[in-house]
C-alpha cells in the first residue's frame, strides 16, 4: 500500500512548511488610490504538512482559509512570511523554478463548473498539464484513459464536455486533472462542499484511496468539520486570519481546547443527539479590515477574560497540540 513514489520517507522534515505567513489585501480609496486600510486575510499563520498526511483546515466564511490555500499555490502574493516546499523557499524561486514547482502542488476547487473550461473536452482538460510539461510518453488517449479509470469514470467520457456530467462526475474530472502530474501536495478548497451527501461520500473515499496509492499530501480546506474529521489526520481551526487551534483531528473533535473550536463543534447538528440547551455563540465574525485588539475571538468568546482584549495570545503546546488562548 505504501507506494513511495513521490515522497521520500527517508527525508526528514515536513513536505510543506508555512512560517508566519501573512497575506494582506490593500483597500484603495480616493482619487490617487491611496491605500486606506488592509484586509488582513491571513495574519501570521504557521503550519506544516508531512508526506502522505492530510491537514484539515476549518473555519467559517471570511476566516482566510481560501486565501491561505491560494497563497501556498502562489496565486496570491505573500505580504510577509515564507512558504517552504521540501525546504526550498518559494519566495526565492525564479519564474522557471516556480513553473517546475507547480507540478508538485495541484489544486481542486469547490465548483468544478467554473474551474473546468466549458469549451474543452475531458481529454484535453485532464491532459493539459501533461502536454504543458511535455510528459506525454505514448499517446494522450492512453494517459487520459488511465486517469479516468483512476477516478472511476468510463472511457466514453473522453470526448465529452464538462456540462454533460453531474456535479460529482465533474469533481472527478477535476481530481483526474489534479493528479495527472503526480503531485506531492494537493490543495482541496471546499472540494466536496457543493455535492450531495451520497456523492460527497463517494468523492471523499476516492480522495482517500488516491492518497494511499500515491502517498499524496492533502491540504483539505472546508467549512464542514464533520467532513474534515473524516479525512484529516491533523486539523487546524482558523478564525479571522489566524490559527486558533491545531492538532490531531481526533483530539480536537473529542476534546476541543479553544472556546471557538468548542463553539464550532457544538453548532454542528448531530442526528440522535439533542443539543437544544447548547451554548450559542453571540454575534458575528468581525471584519478583517479592523480585527479586534488582543485575541480576535474575544468579543464573541463565552469564556472571555480582561487580558483577552489587551494581549494577543501566542500559540502554546497543550496536550500535544497548539492552542492560541489565554486560558491555556
Amino acid at each position: 500500500m505504501k507506494n513511495v513514489k513521490n515522497c521520500d520517507e527517508t527525508k526528514s522534515g515536513p513536505l510543506l512548511r508555512v512560517v508566519d505567513l501573512t497575506t494582506w489585501f490593500p483597500v484603495k480609496r480616493g482619487f490617487f488610490s491611496k491605500t486606506a486600510a488592509y484586509v488582513r486575510a491571513v495574519d501570521g499563520v504557521s503550519l506544516e504538512i508531512h508526506c502522505g498526511e492530510t491537514l484539515g483546515l476549518v473555519g467559517e466564511s471570511g476566516c482566510g482559509k481560501t486565501t491561505l490555500g491560494r497563497t501556498i499555490l502562489g496565486l496570491e502574493k505573500t505580504t510577509k512570511g515564507d512558504i517552504l516546499l521540501d525546504g526550498y523557499s518559494m519566495s526565492q524561486l525564479t519564474p522557471k523554478e516556480m513553473n517546475l514547482l507547480r507540478q508538485r502542488v495541484q489544486v481542486i476547487f469547490q465548483d468544478p463548473m467554473s474551474s473546468l473550461n466549458p469549451r474543452m473536452t475531458v481529454i484535453d482538460i485532464i491532459t493539459e498539464g501533461l502536454v504543458q510539461f511535455k510528459k506525454i510518453e505514448v499517446s494522450k488517449v492512453a494517459h487520459a484513459n488511465r486517469l479516468l479509470a483512476e477516478v472511476g469514470l468510463s472511457e466514453d467520457a473522453l470526448y465529452r464536455f464538462p456540462h454533460e456530467f453531474s456535479g460529482g462526475q465533474r469533481q472527478r474530472i477535476a481530481i483526474a486533472r489534479a493528479i495527472s502530474l503526480r503531485p506531492e501536495l494537493v490543495i482541496c478548497d471546499e472540494a466536496v462542499s457543493a455535492l450531495d451527501v451520497s456523492i460527497q461520500a463517494q468523492v471523499v473515499n476516492l480522495l482517500k484511496s488516491l492518497q494511499e496509492r500515491y502517498h499524496l499530501s492533502l491540504l483539505f480546506i472546508s467549512h464542514d468539520l464533520s467532513v474534515v474529521s473524516n479525512i484529516a489526520d491533523r486539523t487546524a481551526v482558523m478564525y479571522l486570519g489566524r490559527i486558533v487551534e491545531a492538532g490531531n483531528t481526533a483530539d480536537i473533535v473529542r476534546a476541543p481546547l479553544h472556546p471557538y473550536t468548542k463553539a464550532l463543534i457544538a453548532a454542528v447538528p448531530v442526528p440522535g443527539v439533542s443539543r437544544r440547551d447548547r451554548v450559542l455563540l453571540k454575534g458575528e465574525i468581525p471584519s478583517s479590515l479592523s480585527p479586534p485588539p488582543g485575541c480576535p475571538f474575544h468579543p464573541r468568546c463565552p469564556e472571555v477574560m480582561p487580558v483577552c482584549s489587551q494581549q494577543e495570545p501566542v500559540a502554546k503546546r497543550v496536550d500535544g497540540r497548539e492552542v492560541a488562548c489565554h486560558l491555556h
Binding site: S61, V197, R278, L281
Partner: protein
Amino acid sequence: MQTTDLNLQDEQKELLLSVRDLTVSFSVDDGTFTAADSISFDVKTGETVGLVGESGCGKSVTALSIPRLIPSPPGTIESGEIWFEGQDLMTLNSSALRDIRGRDISMIFQEPLSALSPLHRIGQQMIETILLHQDKPRKQAWEIAEGWLKKVGIPDAGDRMFAYPFQLSGGMQQRIMIAMALMLSPRLIIADEPTTALDVTTQAQIFALIRDMKQHQTSMLLITHDMGVVWEMCDRILVMYASRIVETGSREDVFFNPRHPYTIGLLQAIPKLTGLREPLKDIPGQVPSPFDYPKGCHFQARCVFAMDRCRESSPPAYDCGQGHRAACFLMEGRPA
C-alpha cells in the same frame, strides 16, 4: 393511494395542510419532465415537518406548489389537491391566493439577498407586507415592524429600518426574512433551505430563533438537504428521491429505524463528527436524470436489494406502523 389517515396516534391534532397526489411537470427546451410525482402528505397544526432530499429531487418544487408559486410556463401542476384550512388552493383565483400568501402561508428562502428588494429600505419592505393584509395606519405598521426587528435580535432596530439589505450581513438578512415571515402570525411557514448559505454558528443562532419565535399553533414545512438540521428541527420527516416521497415517519422512526434502502444509505453517508477517519459508506451510482427516470422504482439502479419487480412497477407506500411508511417492495407483507 392514501385513504386512511397517515398518523392515527396524532388524530387529535388538527390537520392544517393536506397535499394529495400532487404532480408537477416542467417543459423546457430539452423536453418535459416530472419534477414532483404523486406527492401526498399532511401537516398538522403546530407541527414541523422536514422535507429532505438531494438536489434535484423535487423538494423545492413541492414546497413552492403549495402557495401556487410555480412559475407557469415552464411549470405546470398536472394534478393534485392542496387542502389548506378546509379549502383546496388549486381551485382559488389569483386574488384569493394573494390574500393567503404572506398572511396565512409565509415563506423563508435560502438567499435573503435575492428575496429582499435591493432598492427598498428594510422598513419599507416590512410594512408593505403588513399594509397589504391589515387595515392599519402606516405609523402603527412601522412600529410593529420595528418591534419584530428587535424580537429577532437585530441591534439598533430603529436605525436598521432605514438600511438597505446589502448593508447587512447574511445572518442579519435572514433574521429580517424570519421577522417578515412571522410578523403576521401565519398558520404555515415554508422554509426552503433557510440556513444553507450561512455558517454553522450563524445557522445555530437562526434555528434557535425560529424555535423561540414560532408560535405553538404555527406549523412549518422545512426543506433541507441536511439530515442534521432535520433532526434538530423537525417532528416528522418526508424523504424524497427523484421526484417521489420514498419514506415518511416520525423523526425517531426515520433516524433509528429507516426502512427504505435510500434512507438507510443516506443516513450512512453522512460524515460523523468522530475524528476516526473511517471510510464513508456511499451510495453507489448517481441520481438519474429527470428526463429518463426508470420504469418502476426510481432508486432501483443504486439499490442493493433491487428485484425484478422493482424494474416493472412502482412500489406503493407500505405501512410500517404508527404512521411510518416506506415505498419499497421489501416492506410488503411485513407486519407493521
